[in-house]
Amino acid sequence: MGSEGEGRDAGARPDGAAPDERPGARDGPAEPGEECVPPGPSVILASLDELVDGLVGLVDWGIGLVSVKPLVNRIARPIFGWSQRASIFALHSGLACCAMEMGVVGMPRLDSERLGVAWFSSPRRCDLFLVNGWITKKTRPVLMTLYEQMPEPKWVIAMGECAISGGPWHDSYNVIFGADELLPVDIYIPGCPPRPEALLDALWKLQKKIAREGTRSGLRLG
């Protein structure tokens, strides 16, 4: 609610109507002889939806009136930030050797799930894109598609030397020298490969970053 309400004009209603002209609200039967039939389920649901929207808009308008929006943001943002950082879903995409160390982080010895990090195969449900291997020219559209399929907010961690700068493949004709040529990277983990504890540390740092920066909105293209 904190960030979503910011863009909206404080006095407007969601459907654009004036506060009195709510659809479905009447003072009496429209025509003589028409019975006051109670509205059917769909009408109730539709008006419930609008009721909730209306209430939200009303509260927003009220908050804007008394200028406690920054205060509300200050309370709401950490709550959203906490829920986002405590349940990061990472994309199950292993490119190369660092993917082995990424896999180890989910395994019993290091157990990323105690940090809330779980791995999911579908990018549509993920927040975190771990680039963990060298990127080749053939892979570039694949990674861009995966990144674009992820909904906002999303973060990118570049794991390993190959994702930071191309790694040991500096004279390869097919390797792209760094993930930040394609994606906006939040955290870089050096190492070839980094120890899985380093990835765990990076996940902690990412959590701190989310706590500090709050929920992210908007698409930044690097």
Binding site: G94, K138, P168, N174, C192, R195
Partner: protein, 364 residues
Amino acid sequence: MTQMWINMGPQHPSTHGLWDLLVRVDGETIMEAQTKIGYLHRGVEKIAENRTIEKFLPLNDRLCYVANSSWTTLFTMAVEDLLEVTPPERAQYIRVVVLELQRIASHLVWLGAYGADMGLLTMILWGWRDREIILDLFSLLTGARIMHNFPRVGGVRNDLPPTFKDRALKAMDYMDQRIPEYEDLCGRSELFAMRTRGIGVLPLEKAISLGCTGPMLRASGLEQDVRKEEPYLVYDRLDFNVPTGQNGDGWDRYTVRLEEIRQSASLVRQALNNMPEGDVMAPGFKMPKVLPAKTIYRRAEDPRGEGAIYLVGDGKTNRPYRLKIRSPTYVHLLAIPFYIKGARMSDVPVIMGGADPCMAEVDR
């Protein structure tokens, strides 16, 4: 029913790497398939032509991220053939220990992923947890969990640390206790049997004609192992069996690899107990400024099959003129369309997993 092409990959939980299996399905049955690889192609063979042997050596670890030392050892053996150097016996025994530990670690990765693809998530937790014990041994010996950079041309980098032998023997005892647990979990599971028996059958004639090697070929029935055919290092002095299957289905690939873990544990024990004292580097060996003008084809038993290196020296520089890496999984993955017809969509992870893909070695 209309048929359609479904794209399984490049990002897919069962592929374990970036590759693409396009399948044309009629309902649930697969009519045709195509494999698309190359998403991880770095041009390692071209890079090798621009680097000296010592500078190229650490890159061999990255040739297969699951079985690193087996490619570095193969490369050093190829260079040693070219330069006609023999490493001392102790170094050869140490290399055998590292190779067999690497084989166990690689098969545990495979076993975990195989079970996980079928939904048997306990297997991946157990398998990778036990692999950590072997990676601890590697850390102790070489300093790194993966990417050891341990063999050198003429020997190995360092001798065994004092506690290594005891810890390794204890680890092998631990593995021997775990293997029956894996058999209990997977082998006696009806669901596992239903999902692997009769799935992805590859008859022996077809396997040989396609060029499949290693566990894929052994599962199809041929008792073939490069360590027995062309013994390298000290394998001719060690005693081990080569497990085979009968039908070449997913079940046989599982039993073959599980038995290989057991055999590798026994090999590690034998090598550690019979290791002679001595140097670990060929005394007085220095890399020459110029590689001799010879061609070498050196084969070895990678956990995935027959890995080989074709190395051409040109007699003028200390860089290889041509380095060809024969990857077993390259053949296995491109061979999948030849035996997947008639399988169902839900069998695809089992078939993909049975080939044990390691994409860095496929795409090089």
